[in-house]
C-alpha cells in the first residue's frame, strides 16, 4: 500500500538526485579527489541540471498517473466483488430491489422508445425540419384544407416556400383476380416523392408528364404491397392493374420504409390538374405540404398565405372571407394528436421509476444501519470515509446496473407485446426500436437512479461512522436515519397517490363512457360497408339499395336489415354548409353538423325513436319536395318552443342546394363517437341523394357472427367484385372505439398497481424496522403491563401520520400536474373530489394494513427474551 502514498514528483526527484550526487561525490573523494573538485565533476556528469530534473519529473508524473488509475480500477473491481459478496448475504432484499428497478426501468424504457420514435425523432424525410403543413383556419378554430386554386397559387408563386406539394387520400378499389380489395391510396403532386426522398427500389417515380392528366394513367406502389399482394413478382412494374375501374400502369415500387401520408398508404397516383368542380375556392380538398425556403419562417409563410387568401377574396367575393392561414410543422401534423397521451404515459412510467428509486434508497438505508458494526470496524481499521462512500456508491450502482440490464431485457420483450396491443392509428409505430439513443438514455437513467438511491445510505455511513472498534455508531446517526427513512416512505406514498389518482380518473371516465347511451340499439347488429363500383349508373345504385332490405331479410336468422351512409360511432362530423331558413350565420360561422343518408327503415331497424313527425317512406325519392329528418338536439337548439316539422334547411353550399323540408325529429345518436356530444345531425333518404358507399346493418335473430358469410354472399349476388369492408359487430365497433382509452387506462393502472406494491413494501419495511428498533422498549412496556393493543395502536398511529402527509402531498402534486391528464378524461374533472378522496382513503388503509403485521408481531414481544439480550 505504501506505493500509493508517494510524495509529489518534484520532491521525490530532488531527493533521488541529491542521493545520486552524494554517492558520486563520495566515490570520487574516496579515489583521492578534493571534495570541491569532486562535487564539480559529479555535477557536470549530470548534464544541465534543470533539463535532467525536468525529464525525471515528467517520468515520475507519468508513472504516478498510471498507478493512480490502476489503483482506482483495482479498488473498483474490489468494490464490485465486495458488493456481490454482500448481496449473497442478503438475497431476498437484493432480489426485491433488482426486480423493482427492472420493472421501473422496463416501463420507462418501453414508453420512452415509443416517445422517442414518435415524438422526438425527426420525420424520415430530407430536410424534415423545414417541412410544414399548410391549411386554413376557420372561425370555429378548425383547420380546413386548401382549395385547388389556393394550392396552385401557393405552389406557383410562394417566395417563403420553395416547394409546395398537394395530396389527398382515399381507399381505392383494386381488382385482385376475382375479388376487389380496398387499398389505402394517396394522390400526390408528381414532385412529392422526390421532395420526400422516396427512391424507387424498382421502376421509376413520377415524371412531370404523369401529372398532366393526358398521358396513360400510371401508379407507383409500396414494396409492402408488392410483397403481400404480388409475391414480389418482377413483372409487376410495367403491368396494368385495375384501380377504381381504370386500367393503370404500375411504373415503380417505393421502399417499404417510405410512408406518406399515412403509415398504411400503399399506392400513389399522380395528382392531375384540377377538374372543373375543383376550381371552386370554397371546395377545400387538397392537403398541402410545403418546404420553407432557406431563411424563411413559419410566420413569414403564414403572412404570405394570409395575403394570398385576401387577394383571392377580393378577386372572387363570397369565398370564405374569414379564413386565415394555418401553417405548422409537418411533425405536429403527423403526431400532434397522440402527443398528450404519450406524454401522460411517459410521466406515469417515470413516476414509477422515481418511486422505485426512493424505495430502494430506503431499503439500502435500513441496510446501512444494520451494517453499523461492519462499517465501524472498517473505519477503525483505517478505511477513509471517502473510500467507504465509494464502496457504498459502487454497491448502489451495481444494483442499479443489474436491475437496468434485467429491465432492458423486460422492455425488449414487453415492447413487442405492447406494440401488438396498441390500438390502430398511432402514427410512426413502425419506427419504434431500441436504437443507440434509447439505450444510452436507459444507461443514463439507470446511472442517475443508482446515484440517487445510493445517496441516503452513503450519507448515513459517512456522517455517522466514527472509528470505533466496538462497531457502535453515534446515536445522532440513528435519529437522522430514522427521519430520512420516514421522509422516503412519505415520498413513496405521495408518488403512489399521484399515480392512483390518474388511474382512478381514467377508470371512472372509461366507466362513464361505457354507460353513455349510444341512442340506438347495438345488440345483435352485424355491420359491413359496401362500395359500389364507379361504373354503376345512378339507377343501378338506387336499385341496389332499394332492393337491399328485402334481399337480406329473406336470409334465415336475419330479423331486419337496412343501410346508412356511415355507421354510428364512426366520426364524420363536417363543419359549415348548414343553412336554416329565417336565420343568418356570420360568414363561415354555420354550426358544425353530422350528415347521414339512410334507407327509409333505418330508424326502425337501428332502434332510433321517432320524436315527432314521420320517418321516410318509399315516396321520398327526390321528386317533389326534398325531405330531411333532424335529431332532437338540432330541434331543441333552433326551435326550442315549437315543432320544427315543416321548417326548411339546406345541406351543402347555399347557392346550389335545394331547400329540404323537415318531416321528422328522431332521437339523438352518438354518430361521431361515444365521447362526442350528439350535436346537430341531419338524415336524408338515400334515394334523394344517392351515394356509392353504404354501410349495411343487419339485426340478427340469433348469433350475428353466423350471418357474416350469408350476408356477404347475398350482397355480392349480382356482382361478385363489389368490395366489402369493415365487417364486424356493432358492439365490437363500440368497444374498439374505446380501445385507445382502455389501453391508456390499463397501462396507467399497471403503473399504479406497481406503485402501490412498491409503496407497501416501503411502509412494511419501515414498520418492521421501527418494531425491531423499539423491541426493547416494547418488551419493557409489555413487562410493565401495557396491553398489546395499545402497542399496536402506537405503531399504526405512526404510519397513519406518514400516510396522511404523503397522501396530502400526492394530492397536491396531482393537482399541479392535472394538465397532463385533463385531455384524456370524459365527463370527469381532473380534480374530482370524490375520486381524490376515495383513492386517498384506500391508499391510507392499504398503508395501515401493511403496518399491521409487523405491529402485531412487535406487540407479542416476549419481555423476558428482550431483557436478556443486550
Amino acid at each position: 500500500m505504501w506505493r500509493f502514498l508517494r510524495p509529489a514528483p518534484e520532491q521525490e526527484v530532488r531527493a533521488e538526485l541529491e542521493s545520486h550526487l552524494e554517492h558520486a561525490v563520495a566515490e570520487l573523494v574516496a579515489k583521492g579527489m578534493a571534495p570541491d573538485e569532486a562535487r564539480r565533476q559529479a555535477l557536470h556528469a549530470l548534464g544541465r541540471l534543470a533539463d535532467t530534473t525536468r525529464r525525471l519529473e515528467r517520468g515520475a508524473e507519468r508513472r504516478n498517473r498510471a498507478e493512480t488509475r490502476r489503483a482506482w480500477l483495482g479498488e473498483l473491481a474490489q468494490d464490485v466483488r465486495f458488493a456481490f459478496r454482500s448481496f449473497r448475504r442478503w438475497p431476498l432484499p437484493t432480489a426485491v430491489v433488482t426486480g423493482s428497478i427492472a420493472l421501473g426501468v422496463a416501463g420507462t424504457l418501453a414508453v420512452f422508445a415509443v416517445v422517442k420514435a414518435v415524438l422526438l425523432a425527426p420525420l424520415p424525410y430530407p430536410a424534415a425540419e423545414r417541412l410544414v403543413r399548410v391549411a386554413e383556419r376557420v372561425p370555429t378554430g378548425d383547420r380546413w384544407e386548401l382549395s385547388y386554386p389556393a394550392f396552385r397559387d401557393l405552389r406557383d408563386r410562394s417566395r417563403t416556400l420553395d416547394r409546395v406539394i398537394g395530396y389527398s387520400r382515399s381507399l381505392a378499389n383494386v381488382a385482385m383476380g376475382e375479388e376487389t380489395v380496398q387499398i389505402p391510396t394517396a394522390t400526390v403532386s408528381v414532385d412529392a416523392l422526390e421532395l420526400l426522398g422516396a427512391i424507387p427500389v424498382a421502376g421509376r417515380g413520377f415524371l412531370p408528364a404523369d401529372g398532366s392528366g393526358e398521358g396513360p394513367p400510371v401508379a407507383v406502389v409500396s414494396e409492402r404491397l408488392w410483397r403481400s399482394r404480388f409475391g414480389r413478382s418482377p413483372d409487376l412494374v410495367g403491368s396494368t392493374q385495375l384501380i377504381e375501374g381504370t386500367a393503370v400502369t404500375i411504373v415503380g415500387v417505393l421502399p417499404a420504409d417510405f410512408r406518406f401520408p399515412e403509415d398504411e398508404t400503399a399506392i400513389w397516383l399522380p395528382l392531375p390538374p384540377a377538374a372543373p368542380w375543383m376550381e371552386n375556392r370554397a371546395v377545400h380538398i387538397v392537403e398541402v405540404v410545403g418546404r420553407l425556403a432557406p431563411g424563411a419562417t413559419v410566420a413569414g409563410a403564414t403572412a404570405e398565405l394570409d395575403a394570398q387568401l385576401a387577394r383571392a377574396q377580393q378577386a372572387e367575393p363570397g369565398s370564405d372571407p374569414e379564413h386565415r392561414a394555418a401553417i405548422y410543422p409537418l411533425h405536429e401534423g403527423v403526431v400532434g394528436a397522440v402527443q398528450p397521451t404519450l406524454t401522460l404515459l411517459l410521466a406515469a412510467a417515470a413516476t414509477v421509476l422515481l418511486l422505485v428509486t426512493v424505495n430502494v434508497g430506503g431499503m439500502l438505508l435500513t441496510r446501512a444501519v444494520r451494517r453499523d458494526r461492519e462499517i465501524g470496524i472498517r473505519r477503525a481499521l483505517g478505511a477513509r470515509p471517502g473510500r467507504l462512500a465509494r464502496q457504498l456508491m459502487t454497491e448502489s450502482l451495481v444494483l442499479a446496473s443489474l436491475g437496468g440490464i434485467l429491465g432492458l431485457g423486460l422492455a425488449y420483450l414487453g415492447l413487442g407485446a405492447v406494440l401488438g396491443q396498441l390500438p390502430a392509428g398511432l402514427p410512426r409505430l413502425s419506427e419504434v426500436r431500441f436504437d443507440p439513443i434509447v439505450l444510452a438514455s436507459a444507461a443514463g437513467v439507470v446511472l442517475i437512479s443508482g446515484l440517487l438511491f445510493g445517496l441516503a445510505p452513503t450519507l448515513y455511513a459517512v456522517r455517522s461512522s466514527r472509528p470505533s472498534p466496538l462497531g457502535h455508531v453515534a446515536v445522532g446517526g440513528r435519529s437522522w436515519q430514522r427521519a430520512a427513512r420516514r421522509a422516503l416512505v412519505t415520498a413513496q406514498l405521495a408518488l403512489a397517490q399521484v399515480l392512483l389518482v390518474a388511474m382512478a380518473l381514467l377508470a371512472v371516465s372509461l366507466l362513464r363512457l361505457q354507460r353513455v347511451d349510444p341512442g340506438f340499439d347495438p345488440s345483435s347488429l352485424l355491420t359491413m360497408t359496401v362500395t359500389l363500383p364507379p361504373d354503376y349508373s345512378p339507377e343501378r345504385v338506387i336499385g341496389f339499395y332499394e332492393d337491399l332490405p328485402a334481399r337480406l331479410e329473406r336470409l334465415p336468422g336475419v330479423s331486419s336489415a337496412t343501410a346508412v351512409s356511415r355507421l354510428p360511432i364512426s366520426g364524420g362530423e363536417g363543419s359549415g354548409d348548414l343553412t336554416i331558413e329565417g336565420r343568418t350565420f356570420p360568414p363561415g360561422g354555420s354550426p358544425p353538423a353530422t350528415f347521414r343518408r339512410v334507407l327509409p327503415n333505418y330508424f326502425q331497424v337501428a332502434g332510433i325513436p321517432l320524436v315527432s313527425g314521420r320517418v321516410f317512406d318509399a315516396t321520398d325519392r327526390g321528386q317533389g319536395d326534398f325531405v330531411v329528418a333532424i335529431n332532437e338536439s338540432f330541434a331543441r337548439r333552433y326551435w326550442p318552443d315549437r315543432d320544427p316539422v315543416g321548417a326548411r334547411i339546406k345541406v351543402g353550399p347555399a347557392e346550389s342546394e335545394p331547400w329540404l323540408t323537415v318531416v321528422g325529429v328522431v332521437g339523438d345518436v352518438h354518430n361521431v363517437g361515444l365521447a362526442d356530444q350528439p350535436g346537430l345531425t341531419t338524415y336524408e333518404p338515400y334515394a334523394q341523394r344517392p351515394g356509392r358507399r353504404l354501410s349495411v346493418l343487419v339485426r340478427a335473430a340469433g348469433d350475428p357472427t353466423s350471418l357474416i358469410e350469408p350476408v356477404r354472399r347475398a350482397l355480392r349476388a349480382g356482382d361478385a367484385s363489389v368490395p366489402i369492408v369493415e365487417v364486424g359487430l356493432m358492439q365490437q365497433r363500440i368497444a374498439r372505439s374505446l380501445a385507445p382509452r382502455r389501453f391508456v387506462m390499463w397501462l396507467v393502472s399497471g403503473f399504479g398497481a406497481l406503485a402501490v406494491a412498491i409503496a407497501v413494501i416501503g411502509v412494511w419495511g419501515l414498520a418492521r424496522q421501527s418494531v425491531d428498533e423499539s423491541r426493547r422498549e416494547l418488551g419493557v412496556r409489555a413487562a410493565l403491563g401495557a396491553a398489546p393493543a395499545s402497542l399496536v395502536r402506537g405503531i399504526l398511529g405512526g404510519t397513519a401520520l406518514l400516510a396522511a402527509i404523503g397522501i396530502g402531498l400526492g394530492t397536491a402534486a396531482s393537482l399541479v400536474v392535472r394538465r397532463l391528464i385533463e385531455g384524456q378524461l370524459f365527463a370527469t374533472a381532473a380534480a374530482d373530489p370524490v375520486v381524490v378522496v376515495t383513492v386517498g382513503l384506500a391508499l391510507g388503509l392499504i398503508a395501515i394494513a401493511a403496518t399491521l403485521l409487523p405491529a402485531i408481531d412487535g406487540s407479542r414481544t416476549d419481555p423476558s427474551r428482550v431483557l436478556r439480550t443486550d
Binding site: H23, A45, L46, D51, L56, R58, G59, R62
Partner: protein, 112 residues
C-alpha cells in the same frame, strides 16, 4: 575511452537495469556505475535516461522502490525486482541472446 553509446535501443537500458538488480536491491547511482564499470565505460549511463527508465519499470510493476540506506550509509532510494520483474528479465535475456546471435551471424558472414 569513454564513448557515448551509439544507439542504445529503446528498452535496452531497462533490461540492463533489471539485470543489475538480479543480485539484490540497489540504488540508482549504483545501477549506473555497475553497468559502466562492467562495460569498461563503453556504455555511459546518464541520470537523465536512467531514472525515467527506472520509473517506467516501476509503472510496469517489474521493480519496486523504497527509501533506505545505501552500503555507504547514505539515504538512498533502493530498487528491487518484483516476481514479475524476475520473469521479465529471463525473457529479455533469451531475446537478446537470439537477437545478438542472429546479428552476429549476418555481420560475420564470409560468403554470399
Amino acid at each position: 575511452m569513454r564513448a557515448k553509446p551509439a544507439h542504445l535501443l529503446q528498452g535496452t537500458l531497462e533490461a540492463l537495469a533489471l539485470k543489475s538488480l538480479s543480485w539484490g536491491p540497489r540504488h540508482g547511482y549504483a545501477i549506473g556505475r555497475w553497468i559502466e564499470e562492467l562495460t569498461e565505460g563503453t556504455l555511459a549511463i546518464e541520470a537523465g535516461s536512467l531514472y525515467p527508465a527506472l520509473y517506467r519499470l516501476e509503472q510496469k510493476q517489474l521493480i519496486e522502490a523504497e527509501w533506505g540506506t545505501s552500503d555507504q550509509g547514505r539515504p538512498a532510494k533502493l530498487y528491487r525486482l518484483t516476481t514479475a520483474g524476475t520473469e521479465q528479465l529471463k525473457r529479455e535475456v533469451q531475446t537478446w541472446r537470439r537477437f545478438s546471435w542472429a546479428i552476429a551471424k549476418v555481420l560475420d558472414a564470409k560468403s554470399a
